[in-house]
Structures are given as C-alpha cells and as structure tokens.
Assembly symmetry: C2
C-alpha cells in the first residue's frame, strides 16, 4: 500500500533560514525484522515535536538510504534526540538494523526551491 | 557497469565540524536523455574542487532522489556553485531533467558515525 505509483512525490520545501537539517545516511543489515513498524512509529512520533518541519527519504535498492529531517531550531532537535522511544529505537538500530550510518546535524544558511512549469504543447508559461 | 551488487556501499564519514552540507532533493521528469553523461561529468568536476569532501546519493525508484555534497568550507561551495559547466548543467536540469527540486546549504555543527562490529560466530573483534 506504500508504493510510489500514484501519489506525487514532493521534496520538503525550502524554508526561510535559519533552520536545521539532520542528514542520516545508512546502510542496512540483512536482518530488518521489526524495522518497518518501528520506523512507522518514529515517523508518527517526530511529527509531534514542536518545530518539526518535515522529512525527505530516498533509498537505493540494495544500497544507501538517506533520510533528512528538517527542524525549526536546535530545541526541536534536542527534544527529538532525547525522546525515550527514539533512543530505544536508535539502540536497536545499532544492534540489529544498521551496518553503518553517519549523522550530520547542520544549520541551514540558504535554501531555494524550484518547480518546473508544465508547458502544454500550445500554451506559454510565464 | 555501475550497479550496486558487488562494491560495498559506504556513507561519507563524519568529518570534524565545522564543514558544509549541500542537500539536494529532486524529482525527475520522464525525459532523462543526456542526464547520465552530464551527471558523470559533474561527479568528476566536483572532485577537482579544493575542499570537496565527498558525496552521498540515494534514489528511490520512481520517487525522490537525494544527493548530499560535503564541503570543507564556504569557499569550496562558492567555487562549485560558480563553476561554468556546473551552471550550464543546472540550467539544463531546470529545462529538462527536474520536475522539482530543493537545495538546502547548511553548516554542520555536530556529526557522528557508527559502524557495526562484525561478530563472526567464534571470534571476538576488538
């Protein structure tokens, strides 16, 4: 039920800086039992954090996964980082789900977005 | 020749802050003609930028692609941003390859990496 064939995928938009990104790059192990439900629970939990702005995720089959979380300020990140359920999930990730990962927490200094104009054959876009 | 079946995938490591990340999230159009060779050229070019630290990429089939470039300082990013070939590629991307994208440029404040210890059945790792 979670394929990409129908719903349009949209990256998280460019917010007005400053805001924070948490870039999480990971390679998974073979044993992914329990990952799906924990991941879904984390996605629900993070949305409850005041200042959570959104999340982008991409996964190359058999390869690298990248998740980018966007947060309004450092307090929002601190709250997410110290969440008890999140910490338990991280611990299980190190034991079971992740072969390796890297986390980069960074303050956005500039950003911009682009959406291509749809140009039907006989009209002009401005 | 560029599949992921053999070579181990490793995320870019956690460098000592401060450094910069450029997070590029994109949804592609149907028309990807010429993308592969331009992308390969850009990957070669960016490696020539002094202060370029590495790049992570993940692509969900039919969905979002995320590329994260890592740079030692703002000067490295400026040099890459103002590269003439890169600018031409960006322009073509807006016209042809990308339906939408977002770029977030951010200064890393903290980072850490994790690699799971391989534990063979009858030996200990140190």
């Amino acid at each position: 039920m979670s394929d990409h064939s129908e719903a349009p995928v949209m990256p998280v938009e460019a917010y007005e800086p400053p805001y924070y990104v948490a870039v999480f790059t990971a390679v998974r192990t073979q044993d992914q039992s329990g990952f799906g439900e924990t991941n879904a629970r984390m996605e629900d939990l993070v949305k409850e954090i005041p200042g959570f702005l959104g999340m982008d995720h991409a996964q190359t089959p058999g390869g690298l996964g990248i998740t980018v979380g966007y947060f309004r300020d450092a307090d929002a990140l601190t709250e997410w980082r110290s969440n008890v359920e999140h910490r338990a999930a991280q611990q299980r990730g190190r034991v079971q789900w992740y072969q390796s990962y890297t986390l980069h927490v960074a303050k956005v200094e500039r950003s911009h977005g682009f959406t291509r104009a749809e140009v039907p054959q006989s009209s002009t876009a401005d």
